[in-house]
Every structure is written in C-alpha cells, then in structure tokens.
C-alpha cells in the first residue's frame, strides 16, 4: 500500500453501528464523540462536518460502506 491507512488527504468521520445506537467517530480520535439512537440523526449531525473538510463515511451494521460523502466546498 502506498500510503498509511487513514492518513489520506482528507479528514474522515465515520458513522458506526454500536450496541446502543449509532456513533459518530472522527478518524484518529480515541473514542466516539456521541452516540445517537437513530442512524438518520447521526448522519445529519455528522454531515455538518463536511463544511470543515471531512469525508462522511456511513457504515452498515456489519461495518461495510453504505455511503461515502465528500466534503462540501
């Protein structure tokens, strides 16, 4: 692999399934910032970070990728 995992040109924020809901976790952060009961609410909140240059990566319950949104310019 040519570049270090997770050290691409963009910043990433993940929406990850958790036992108690859906977590928003910035890549590289030691823990999830917040857990929401509804996935839609987690996505909506994470999307605010697109304005600050973050990719928003929405995972399915099994960890695979449901949606990948690029930052808003």
């Amino acid at each position: 692999m040519s570049k270090k995992p997770g050290k691409g040109t963009s910043k990433r924020v993940h929406i990850i399934s958790r036992k108690d809901g859906w977590a928003i976790k910035k890549q590289g952060a030691s823990r999830a910032s917040k857990i929401y009961q509804k996935k839609e609410t987690a996505i909506k909140n994470a999307q605010k970070l697109r304005k600050t240059g973050h990719d928003v990566i929405v995972h399915k319950k099994d960890g695979s990728i449901q949606k990948w949104e690029k930052p808003k310019k």
Partner: protein, 210 residues
C-alpha cells in the same frame, strides 16, 4: 520454541459457513483474529479440486492450537432447506483430536459461538454444560466475544472490543476505497477469495503499526 510450534500456538482454525449470508460476521471475525496477532486457518485457503475436503480440514485442525466454531447457521432457515451438519461435524473432529491425540493436541482450546444462548442444546445436547458464547448475529458483539475469549485463554491484555470494532470499520473504509480505485465492483468484493482479504488486512495492520 521452533517455528512450527510457534505457528501451532498462533493458528486459529475457523469452522463456519463461507457463503454470502455469513460474510457480515466472517469479516469482523477474521479481522479480530489478525488484530490480536493470530493467524486464521480456513478450509478455503487452498483451492485444489483434487484434494478431499476432509483431509484439508484434518490438516488445519492438527496445525491449530486454537479454533473457533460458529454453530449459528446449523438450523435450516426456510422450509425444505436441509440443516447444515458440516459445522458440528468439524467441531467433533476438533474435540476428538484433543481427546485422542497425544502431545501438543492436548493443549488445544476452542471457542464455540451460537446466535442465541441455549439454542444449541436442542440440536447438540452432548455439548450441554460447555461454555458457549452467543453473538445474536451482531458483528460488534461477535468481536467482543472473540476478544474476551482470547483474553480469558491466551493473552494478558488486548484493546477493548469497542476499539477493535471501530478500527475494523476504519479498515473497511480503506478497503473499500482501495478496491474502488482498482475498479472492483461490489460483487467482486463479495466474491473475493478470503486469502486475498486476509492479505489485505495483514498489510493494513502492518502499515498502521508503523
């Protein structure tokens, strides 16, 4: 310790379905084993049509100190579908190896996973009283159960189940991106040989630890 003994101590035989319905659990299972520094051994790792499957399985069981058996798919899911006996059969071979073989085989340890806590007793009452873990078909719970079993049996310390689960999700993003760049389609990813997936995780973990 010789290289062969070392491999034996680190090898984990995986006995589970390898069809697409189990992929959501199989991917995090393989990732967790590699994350903890062990080597998953699966019957699909060599694809020699001339080799009898049972010989391959026997060899993998002999080579592996540890094993993980998932019995969550032994029950038929719809009418007229056969129940699946490969998993309990291979569990029996593995336990038999520990019982009847001399030497290092006596050190073998196994983790048996099921969907629900006591369901297996209806189909496999010989295992009553054994410590079987359930994952409720939840990938995150499977990661936690597997991690806890390693800590209870093999290693002193490991990252939390939550940390491993979150790292797996980050891995899946890199995996997806790289495969997209290489023009793989979703179906290619579903059908990808497990050895290729394992190699990718290996490289990713190596890079991440630098």
């Amino acid at each position: 310790m010789t290289a062969e003994q070392n491999d034996f101590a680190k090898n984990v035989f995986i006995n589970c379905p390898f069809d697409t319905t189990f992929i959501p659990l199989l991917r995090p299972l393989i990732f967790t084993i590699l994350y903890l520094g062990y080597t998953p051994k699966i019957a699909t790792e060599r694809s020699d049509s001339g080799e009898a499957r049972i010989n391959k399985i026997r060899e993998l069981i002999e080579q592996s100190k540890l094993s993980i058996h998932d019995l969550s798919r032994i029950r038929s899911a719809k009418r007229d579908e056969f129940y699946r006996m490969n998993m309990p059969f291979e569990l029996g071979v593995d336990i038999g190896c520990r019982f009847f073989k001399e030497g290092r085989a006596r050190d073998k340890k196994c983790l048996v996973l099921e969907k629900e806590k006591y369901r297996y007793q209806k189909a496999l009452s010989d295992m009553s009283g054994s410590d079987i873990k359930n994952h409720n078909d939840e990938p995150e719970e499977l990661v936690r159960q597997v991690r806890n079993w390693f800590v209870e049996n093999e290693i002193q310390h490991a990252d939390s189940g939550t940390k491993i689960w979150e790292t797996f999700n980050e891995f899946m993003a890199d995996f997806y991106q790289k495969r997209q760049d290489e023009r793989f389609k979703d179906r290619d990813l579903e059908m990808m040989p497990l050895q290729e997936y394992i190699r990718f995780i290996h490289e990713w973990l190596k890079e991440k630890s630098k």
